[in-house]
Amino acid sequence: MGADVGLLEVVAGILLVGAAAVTLWAPRLAAAVSFIGFGVVLSAFWAVMGAPDIALAEAALGAGVTGALFIETVTRHDQTGTREGPWWPGAVAAALLAAALVPSLAATAAATAKAPTADLVEDMLPATGMEHPVTGVLLAFRAYDTLLESGVLMMAGVAALALRREAAPSAPLGRKSAAAPVPPVLSAGTDALVWLVRVIAPVLLLAGLWLLFAGSTDSGGAFQSGAVLAAMLILLRVTGTVPDWLTAAGSDALLRLSLVIGVVVFIVAGLLGPLAGQPWLSWDGGWAFAAILTVEILLTVGIAAGLYALFISLGGADEVVQS
């Protein structure tokens, strides 16, 4: 990757910095929209840097789901009252931070090193039954990190659902707040959007499942797949085309079960190692691939449920379409 900078990279870099500047200094709605643009440019950068897995995750998680969360937050509140302080503390702090960071990073970049871990991963990968190094690292070599990370997402979903429940004991699905009136998010062109979502939802489902199973041999995996599936659910919910079994009375129980099942099965699968006389969270031998695939499928369910739980905790979009 010691290649020189081409024109394309310079243009993309200007785009990235411009999108970041708009995201940071624009009013709320413009910032949220610009954040999605920033995510798209950044995912192009990940792809150029030789990390298609991160590009997929950035597009689905960073730009997609986070963008939906920001848009949902800003369109439900009309508080744009950002009171600005004086400009000079920011300028001084930026200059100091940049002065500290740039020389050390430049020195590090000059020392081109062969990543020692890449060879290790290459050598150990066949033992996991996985062919794609990033998936192997996530689910076999650094399984502990992945478990804790899924736990963080699960806890965030649980905490968000708890806040939502406390706020609305009488209305389990969304609610109308007296203090913050809901603006008509989907006033014009709703029909076209509903039609579009009906068409692309099956495609998103297929894409999510493909990302999940492609993860063992190619770019993709549980996190990208879960994010795409959560995006599908969010789109269905925003347009009011959620299937009946997702809005029925039992759907909250289903959501809670999906939220925890990934982490629970991960822990149980991790205990298989000690039973076979091996360390905790280690999969070896013939059943390594089966164990990792099972964990990955249920982890995907848990991730999709966690992201969806975060979104619906922001307030139901059900009543918007109906009104």
């Binding site: 900078v5 500047a21 931070l97 940049a98 975060l310």
Partner: protein, 115 residues
């Protein structure tokens, strides 16, 4: 200039701008957005260091994906918290409105100074 140096530079610019904005802005939503940009910028620096070798380091790639997931988790929870905080503030302001005609922005505005 090598490509890695450009990535490092971009990561630094985004991180520094995001940090400064996050520390100085009063609007909670803008703070959360800035926090996301700090995360993105530092992940860019991280992967730029992993992209120095011929093949991008899979361990660092996995670490960056972990970072993205953690970011979306805290962002979602933060957004829910912001929503609740602003609901309470709006209710307080409405209460002040009906109690005293001065309303928000007056000397008794409860949430104004803490923002």
């Amino acid at each position: 200039m090598s490509a890695v140096l450009l990535y490092l530079l971009l990561g630094t610019v985004v991180t520094v701008a995001g940090t400064v904005r996050m520390l100085l802005v009063r609007d909670l939503m803008a703070r959360l957005v800035a926090m996301n940009l700090v995360g993105s910028g530092s992940l860019l620096i991280l992967l730029a260091l992993g992209a120095r070798s011929e093949e991008t380091d899979p361990v660092l790639s996995a670490l960056v994906i972990t970072g993205l997931v953690i970011t979306v988790a805290f962002t979602g929870f933060g957004a829910v918290l912001i929503r609740r905080i602003e609901e309470v503030r709006a209710e307080d302001a409405a209460g002040m409105d009906s109690a005293a005609p001065g309303g928000p922005g007056g000397p008794g505005d409860p949430g104004g100074e803490q923002r």
